[in-house]
């Protein structure tokens, strides 16, 4: 290199620029962090604070702190029924979604080598989500309703005389809709986890004497647990706080999210807030329990 080029390249920089340059990589975290703090942490804090007020207020009043709301929440027997129903259905939804999703994820990641085909199938699974959720939901009316497809076919074939009316507005409707809504979000993390597995691990297990089934249960499945856990967490998050689906489709079931929304609707925001805190506690509790099963962090960084 010529001398001119060299000396130009070796010019010193000011100490301030040096400091910024050396630590710039860390400053980069600020934009996302600020957004999250403003629009996640702060609103949540506000809800938390509001739960300590009473009555129909919509802004936190530091002079009127009381824990009456929480006493009410925890002393009512209905709270526990709600908890039982909500948790029960959510757990069921998570398990069913997992069972349905896993084979698809496995098929996609292990059995299809052509990336283009993988991509196409993935997109095919994603496309329905671009149809609005509400529309997708009412389509179930057309399938399971009294004048829906199932009944229509069954009656035309003469298998039943009266239309089945128990297909809709039951727990099972709720379950089906929940599974349909969350399926993709379970398939995707599991697929991701599976593709990150080093195929040599499975090969070595086979040479060490493991049957394909054993290799799956002891190696593949274990290694896919981070994805499974993320998927389960997602289903829980979406179902525990869901107030729309149970309202529309499950009639009499009292759900946690629904309760919150009810109070909000009737302008008793502090009570809504109190139930929200309960909802959050339950959500976090469930997540914490499920996270015990897999070390998520190591998937993302060492």
């Amino acid at each position: 290199m010529t001398e001119e080029r060299r000396s130009e390249a070796e010019k010193r920089e000011s100490p301030l620029i040096t400091f910024v340059r050396k630590n710039a990589r860390y400053f980069l975290i600020l934009p996302p962090l600020i957004v999250v703090i403003l629009f996640l942490v702060v609103p949540s804090l506000m809800i938390l604070l509001l739960s300590f007020n009473k009555g129909s207020v919509t802004r936190f009043d530091p002079t009127k702190i009381s824990i009456d709301n929480f006493i009410a929440v925890f002393s009512r027997p209905s709270t526990y029924i709600i908890l039982r129903d909500t948790l029960g259905m959510s757990v069921l939804a998570a398990l069913v979604t997992l069972l349905v999703a896993y084979p698809v994820a496995y098929f996609l990641s292990f059995k299809i080598q052509n990336f283009q085909l993988q991509g196409i199938i993935t997109f095919m699974l994603v496309a329905p989500y671009w149809v609005d959720w509400s529309i997708r939901s009412i389509s179930w009316l057309s399938i399971l309703g009294e004048k829906g497809l199932v009944n229509y076919v069954l009656m035309s074939l003469g298998l039943i005389k009266q239309p089945l009316s128990e297909l809709l507005f039951t727990r099972w409707t709720l379950l089906i809709i929940w599974v349909q809504t969350n399926l993709l979000f379970m398939i995707f993390p599991i697929y991701l986890s599976l593709t990150l597995i080093d195929p040599d691990l499975i090969n070595v297990a086979r040479t060490l004497g493991a049957s394909p089934f054993k290799a799956f249960t002891k190696i593949t499945f274990r290694l896919s647990l981070p994805g499974v856990v993320i998927g389960i967490i997602f289903v829980f998050i979406s179902t525990l706080g869901d107030y729309v689906t149970p309202a529309l489709w499950a009639g009499g079931l009292q759900m946690l999210g629904l309760t919150v929304q009810n109070y909000a609707w009737h302008f008793n925001w502090p009570m809504a807030a109190a139930y929200s805190v309960l909802l959050l506690a339950v959500t976090l509790g469930v997540i914490w329990i499920v996270l015990r099963f897999a070390n998520i962090k190591q998937v993302f960084y060492k």
Binding site: A24, R25, P31, P32, V35, V36, I37, F39, V41, P43, S44, L45, M46, F107, L108, K111, F115, Q116, Q118, G119, I120, I121, F123, V126, A127, P128, Y129, W130, W133, S134, I135, I138, S139, W140, L141, K147, G148, N151, Y152, Q180, L183, F188, L192, T195, G241, Y243, V244, G257, V260, Q261, W269, A272, A273, S276, L279, L280, T283, I287, V299, Y301
Partner: protein
């Protein structure tokens, strides 16, 4: 050649699942062409009314029209797409910032990581209600897609973050180091080394952020007014009127558009034999 039974069985299963997935949608498509106003069977006749029919009295729902003539749906579509695009456009650089910074170990890294992921975890009602209170507190009373935007950003960012970080090349920092010694200053390192290596993840992030934003409505409904986005609009309408094939027409249309778009994009992206997701 031994037959891979597992592949065959799983393949059939997957096709079956996709079919079940699409069954409601196929139905939606078929029913959108119904000539009468109910969404149930039997189908008495077919027509394009719900797409392009002018306002008029059809069936028992009172005043109604095909989607082509419904200005509110048009507005809702525009709102949704705008919101979706802006969300995706903002989320991508945020995710890049976060993902690249989280590669390095520093005090509080775990906490920040969980905090960034929390946008996913927080139940929608809490975010929605909380944002409502927050806006009131800082004096924002007018709701629009701009008040919804930050909520969508917070909600879709974790997804992109997971997507991007999970697929990092473990040697990425080493490439950057070598590039720096070879004479590349900070920005050049990013454009010539880092970004090309994460390009596919960035595209996926954009794509998923847009998708998630389009269908998000639990959080949005707390801080929106007027026509709103497609999900909030459809939901509101359906709570007050009986469902008609009009919504199916909307659904079919959006599906057709998105499927076409997706096939095109997927084909382009996967022409090189590299993964897209």
């Amino acid at each position: 050649m031994k037959r891979d039974w597992v592949k065959i069985v799983l393949g059939i299963y997957t096709v079956f699942i996709i079919f079940i997935f699409y069954l409601p949608l196929i139905l939606v498509a078929i029913l959108s062409f119904k000539s009468d106003a109910s969404i149930t069977f039997p189908i008495l006749g077919f027509s394009l009314y719900w797409y392009i029919g002018p306002p008029g009295l059809v069936g028992t729902s009172g005043f109604t029209s095909g989607i082509f003539y419904d200005p509110q749906i048009g507005q809702a579509i525009i709102n949704s797409i705008t919101l979706g695009v802006i969300t995706a456009v903002i989320v991508v650089p945020l995710v890049i910032c976060a993902a690249l910074t989280l590669r390095y170990a520093f005090k509080g890294r775990d906490l920040i990581f969980y905090l960034l992921l929390a946008g996913f975890v927080m139940p929608a009602i809490i975010i929605g209600l909380g944002a409502n209170i927050f806006y009131k507190t800082i004096g924002i009373t007018e709701y629009s897609i701009w008040t919804v935007l930050p909520l969508h950003i917070v909600y879709t960012m974790p997804f992109g973050l997971i997507l991007t970080m999970a697929r990092f090349d473990p040697l990425m920092v080493e490439y950057e180091n070598v590039a720096r010694v070879l004479g590349a200053s900070g920005w050049k390192v990013f454009t010539k080394i880092t970004f090309p290596l994460i390009r596919t993840q960035v595209i996926s992030t954009f794509f998923f952020a847009f998708t998630l934003s389009l269908s998000e409505f639990l959080r949005s409904s707390f801080v929106i007014a007027g026509v709103g986005t497609i999900p909030t609009y459809v939901y509101n309408q359906m709570s007050v009127t009986a469902p008609t094939p009009k919504w199916f027409a909307l659904g079919t249309l959006s599906m057709a558009i998105s499927l076409t778009l997706l096939f095109v994009v997927a084909y382009i992206l996967t022409r090189g034999q590299r993964r897209i997701i």
